[in-house]
């Protein structure tokens, strides 16, 4: 691993002053479960690493007038044991349960989950985020069985975030701080499909820190369903998170978001709209799931993921009302 300067600030202002104006100058460290892997492989070689775990205001889960505030450094294990989250947001609990191994859940943070880099093996082997060679994507004609079925050329990796889809379905926002102030962004706009090799897959700027996540209090029935190859350490193959606002037994409005199928979490607005006024049952869920994957464009090796994404949507819908 390349040597770096280590900073352990105690306040947010101090931490922000330690960041750089371009990527590569500084990396933010919370649990480090992703960053250390990137640094060991020389994918990230920051000159400075800024540990934000010592900044008290970035932790904690609290009720606010608008909903629930989750500090960015809250660990997956802390989230899992929060009564506030358990009672309102099963979609987040189910996503957290999927994050494999007690050791990773003890260290990994929710902010880190949103900021983690893609698992694409071309990216992790040093071919770059878009894995381009001579103007062509290596992924499209290469080893792509775990890649996007909703690719956004030239990006065919999948967003690795476990919480992203659930937070989007719940209508959550992230707060991003820089020295010039803070801004709030819907989680749906936090994830972006990069157009060039210099872009990132998230809207965070190099001089910003993700400080908290704000989940609105609105009462919804919500759930996450993950399809995985194995229970042990690995990322899911396809997931879905849903949030349903109900009028009695009928859906007033719905949000359906699929994970691990595109360079960002993928919303399925048409499928969601088709649920309005309906009671969720096997047939209704199956139909909406089919609509959700209609626009999928699988690559040479991953057509199987279309079926998995469909199953995830159907099961998430049924889980939400069970």
């Amino acid at each position: 691993m390349q040597a770096f300067e280590y900073a352990n600030p105690k306040t947010l202002q101090e931490a922000l002053g330690l960041l750089g104006s371009s990527w590569g100058e500084a990396d933010v460290l919370a649990g480090g479960t992703d960053l250390l892997g990137l640094m060991k492989e020389y994918i990230h070689t920051p000159k400075r690493v800024v540990n934000i775990k010592g900044i008290k205001e970035l932790g904690g889960i609290e009720k606010t007038s608008a909903g629930v505030r989750i500090g960015a450094t809250v660990t997956v294990a802390e989230l899992l044991s929060s009564g506030l989250i358990k009672s309102q947001f099963p979609a987040l609990i189910q996503a957290a349960q999927g994050i494999a191994s007690m050791q990773i859940r003890n260290m990994g943070s929710i902010g880190g989950d949103l900021c983690q880099r893609p698992r694409c093996w071309y990216f992790r082997s040093g071919y770059g985020l878009l894995a381009m060679k001579d103007g062509k994507s290596l992924v499209a004609n290469g080893e792509n069985r775990y890649h996007a079925i909703f690719g956004r050329a030239p990006a065919y990796f999948v967003s690795a975030s476990s919480f992203g889809p659930a937070l989007i379905a719940l209508g959550a926002k992230v707060k991003l701080a820089s020295q010039s102030g803070t801004r709030e962004l819907p989680v749906a706009e936090f994830f972006v499909a990069p157009a060039t090799e210099d872009d990132r897959e998230i809207a965070l700027k190099p001089n910003e820190i993700l400080t908290e996540i704000l989940v609105p209090a609105e009462t919804t029935r919500n759930a996450t369903y993950e399809v995985r190859q194995k229970e042990a350490l690995d990322w899911p193959l396809a997931t879905a998170s849903v949030a349903l606002k109900m009028d009695g037994g009928k859906v007033r409005s719905a949000e359906i978001v699929m994970g691990h199928v595109g360079p960002t979490p993928v919303r399925a607005p048409k499928a969601a709209r088709s649920l309005t006024g309906k009671t969720i049952n096997e047939t209704v869920a199956e139909k909406a799931a089919a609509t959700a994957v209609k626009g999928a464009r699988p690559l040479s090796q991953n057509a199987y993921k279309v079926q998995l994404a469909k199953a995830a949507v159907k099961r998430a819908l049924l889980r939400a009302v069970s």
Partner: protein, 156 residues
Amino acid sequence: MKTEISVTINGEAHTHEVEPRLLLIHYLRDVVGLKGPHIGCETSICGACTVAVNGKAVKACTMFAVQADGAEILTVEGLAENGKLHPLQEAFWNEHALQCGFCTPGMLMTAKELLQRNPNPTEEEIRHGLEGNLCRCTGYQHIVSAVKAAAARMGG
């Protein structure tokens, strides 16, 4: 530039100057000299390096030593008390839960937190709880039996 860290390891205070890029596992094994925590993969997969930091099981290969500054660390060497094996260690012995023993320190440290969180786990909960630890020898059955036996001994 080196950074000074102070940690308590198995009840003993230590202060060292370390390079920020030094992994906790290398600190424990090479600086402090505790060879109990093993290095299997160094990439967060195998769990052989598991130690408890402030009571929480973590993979010491995926943490910088500087991140542990001020923390209490427990390694497998600190499990036995006054020369008496921890019930988990005894159960691993009695149930033949190891062959080569490479995964054992990590298994013990993970199982310890597993039983703290859930003193009376089902077989499935044990298997789920140990999902971050790989064993190439035993086929896991004896490890699961040992954790069950330890739970019973500890009064779960």
